[in-house]
């Protein structure tokens, strides 16, 4: 009994002591070679994280690891290691820039003025270099051609298609409180109504009888469309186009409403306290260029580049000039209180009974 206790205690101490009590060496990231490899908090879809980062490593020789998570999750996670000797991640890539704005305010990002940023449209980057946009993704109407035929509807050309009584219980949209897609949709309608919140909520209430479900996830509405549960959903272009480009489903089509479309901006940033800042900066330079954009489009995400360039297109032959961008739309949504809008949506629109 005694011997066992002693052995047990010794084993326990042997486990703990090498770890505890070490003198911490002051981290000096300036000496770290870029080639030491970077760790990325990836806010994109798994396939994109994998393909684009592989391409980065092939192109620059810098190894890149990633963990995939949503914008809100990345923010919470960066916050949790704030003040540690070194941050868990070097780069935060992907995710809507709105969450980057929140992270900048919380001092979670480091400023980096990449030489490449001069090519980026001014409205798509932070003036102080805390984050830089690299792609933009317009929203619009994703619909099923066969369902529209059956319902006797023409191909949609206006956001008001969602108000058509013929689409009763045939629309799904993601909840603005949980999903960037859903929030992008309501801010688009808001911009169309000259930022009149009451008008926007009236519009949403008009659409409400047509909505089968406000999904929690941004990707769910397109999946409901594919499964034939609904006929039309608001969606980002690349997510919708992907269904026929990658998955070969020709019944799914995408339409740009003529009133104008909102858009999402994918951003990239160097994390404050990165253990490999040189690598993070090298990644930023690369991510803002043509090579990264090509890797993006080749994975089947037909977005538009944030850089200004001759013939810059989305891989489907559409150039930036072909899209009816809403001039008054602000992708950082900085003038809105997202929490308040979402809360009001959750109170006034979502639970309203429909007979």
């Amino acid at each position: 009994m005694k011997i066992r206790t002693i052995v047990g205690a010794a084993a326990g101490m042997a486990l703990v002591f090498p770890l505890a009590g070490c003198v911490v060496e002051a981290a000096d990231p300036s000496g770290v070679e870029a080639s030491a490899g970077i760790t990325v908090a990836c806010g994109n879809i798994e396939e994109l994280c994998e393909s684009v980062l592989t391409e980065f490593t092939e192109s620059t020789g810098i190894p890149a690891n990633y963990v995939r998570m949503s914008g809100g999750e990345a923010l919470a996670r960066l916050e949790s290691t704030k003040g540690a000797a070194s941050a868990e991640f070097d780069v935060w890539w992907g995710g809507p820039v709105e969450s980057f704005v929140a992270a900048t305010e919380a001092d979670l990002l480091a400023s980096y003025l990449s030489p490449e940023r001069d090519n980026i449209q001014e409205s798509l980057r932070d003036a102080d270099g805390y984050w830089t946009g690299y792609v933009l993704n317009p929203n619009g109407i994703c619909y099923s051609v066969s369902a529209f035929d059956e319902l006797g509807l023409d191909a949609p050309t206006s956001w008001d298609t969602f108000l058509d009584p013929a689409l009763s219980k045939n629309v799904a949209t993601s909840h603005p409180a949980t999903s960037g897609t859903g929030f992008g949709f309501i801010t688009t309608i808001l911009a169309l109504n000259d930022n009149d919140e009451d008008a926007m909520f009236d519009w949403m209430l008009d659409m409400h009888p047509n909505v089968l479900q406000y999904t929690q996830s941004g990707s769910a509405p397109v999946q409901m469309l594919v499964r034939g549960e609904v006929a039309a959903v608001p969606a980002f272009a690349s997510v919708c186009e992907r269904e026929h480009v990658v998955n070969g489903n020709d019944d799914i089509a995408f339409a740009y409403p003529e009133e104008g479309v909102g858009f999402e901006v994918g951003g990239t940033a160097v994390v404050a306290g990165a253990s490999n800042p040189a690598g993070a900066e090298a990644f930023t330079d690369w991510a803002l260029g043509q090579e990264a954009f090509d890797a993006y489009v080749n994975t089947g995400y037909n977005v538009f580049p944030a850089f200004v360039g001759e013939g810059a297109n989305n891989g489907l032959g559409q150039t930036v000039d072909d899209i009816p961008w809403l001039a008054s739309f602000d992708p950082t949504a900085s003038e809105y209180d997202r929490g308040e809008l979402a809360e009001r949506f959750d109170t006034d629109v979502a639970p309203t009974p429909v007979d």
């Binding site: 949790s80 540690a84 868990e88 949980t178 089968l212 769910a220 959750d346």
Partner: protein, 590 residues
Amino acid sequence: MTLIAEVESLRAEIPPVKAPQLKKRKLDRVTRLILIAIVLIIAALVLWPLYSILREGFSAQGLEVLGSLSSPTTLRIIGNTLLLGAVVGAGGTLVGFIMAYAQARVQFRGKRLLHLIALLPIVSPPFAVATAFITLFSRNGIISSGVFGLTPNVYGLPGLSFVLMFSFFPVAYMNMLGMLRNLDPSLDEASASLGATRFKTFWRVTVPMLLPGFAASFLLLFVEAIADLANPLVLGGNFTVLSTRAYMAINGEFNVPGASAYAIMLLVPALLVFLVQRYWVSRTNVTTVTGKPAGRVSLITSPLARIPILTFVGLVITTIVLIYGTVAVGGFVSYLGVDNTFTLANYQYILGGIGSDAILTTTLLAVVATPIAAVIGMTVSWLVVRKLTKGSGAMDFLAMLGLAVPGTVLGIGYAVAYNKAWIVGDYMLFPALAGGAAILGGTVGIVMVFVTRSLPTSVRSGVAAIQQISPAIDEAATSLGANSVTTFRTITLPLIRAALLTGLTYAFARSMTTLSPIIFITTPQTKIMTSQILGSVESGKFGIAFAYCSVLIILVMSVIGLISFLTSDKFYRIASAWRWRETIQQPKGR
């Protein structure tokens, strides 16, 4: 009528027989050491991360959310949560009980098969059951629309509670089955010889004896249902519950303190149900394992009872087969219900590269976490039922906390508590346990989360099982000179093997299927299957998601099979024969 009245009056006269209570004497030294160790472990697993995050709930931003408690929106969400918990708790317990009763007491063929199929839903990878359910029963579902021509709306309370009941009933089933098998058949015989009908015996003898089991199952299912995130996310529709609301706060509003505040609200109903259950069970404590010889159970053969019970069992089994069949088939086609062409591409994708890496890592970490959770769980239940007088309720509740908190919030709690090393001055007191910069690639944190999430089931089944055992058996061992630990090891543990099996099984299944807390502590070195499944679902690759789920189910079922062999009578007999031989060879022992 008169007979019943007579029995009633008799019952009123006879004071209820209280189970003999073991005198909880002063704890001996070994027990005290164990107690301290367990308290430290629970503090590290649950208390510290929870404290780290709940502190935020009482910050200014969190108080704002807590202050909205009386607003109609918040009240509606709380009401929804309680309703969901009650429906799933009651329904799931009932389904589990009927299945267990059929298995233990009704005569029919194919019991082994029934048992295996009834256990399948224990392995419900997030999204799999809900997605299969949508594929089959939604407005364009293969069965609802394809077979019956219906277009039901499955989003909301009915669809959600159906899927949750279905996913969680196996816990109730396993609890109940263990208890039913431990019931002394001589009680039935006594009741029958006093002239009671089978139904009356069932209603007046069997059911009252199982009350602790009913209560334990209800509590567990209630807590599981209100803390579940994946299913309300997929199927909730406009039916918002606290767990999805906390998720919204993080993902939509970037408001972690707000999410913590919702988590605090979620703890209140869990605490209430827990207190009610403790109060109620302590009043109706019955012991059934008395160490006295027992007779054989006579199985029900009367068609009057068999037909309705077996019809119900048949329906449940058919649904399980349909849903898991959908998952299995879904892995071999591009997109089940949309593009049904046969393909092996999904399996090629997941068995090469990232997929196999995730499968391996997840299984390995779950295998490490499982015995830890089961051992801690059984020890906690032993302390709670047998050893502690003061603080037994507190310890029981602490062990339950890991489940009562939404996974998202627990995950952030872990990130806050363990992603940073403890550094005082220049000295590292303790290394980071979770996250990318942690020791062992952050695996320690993940194993800890696995243990935390599976501990409650282990504790509940352990508590219910130990309560069934008459303390007289313990006393007999003690009077023969055995100390607490020896008594636990040689008397209690063998008697609660069924509960231990439940604990192990569920711990493994739960570890393999945990998603929401993992997101906050997963690292590039530790790819976890569930987050890969989430990724596939989000990019619309349902074939890949279903293939992952099939692999996960097969893995879990094989490990469960292995565990049940290792804890079976057969293996136990072989093992104890070996030990006995050793003892003979070395008569002096250690």
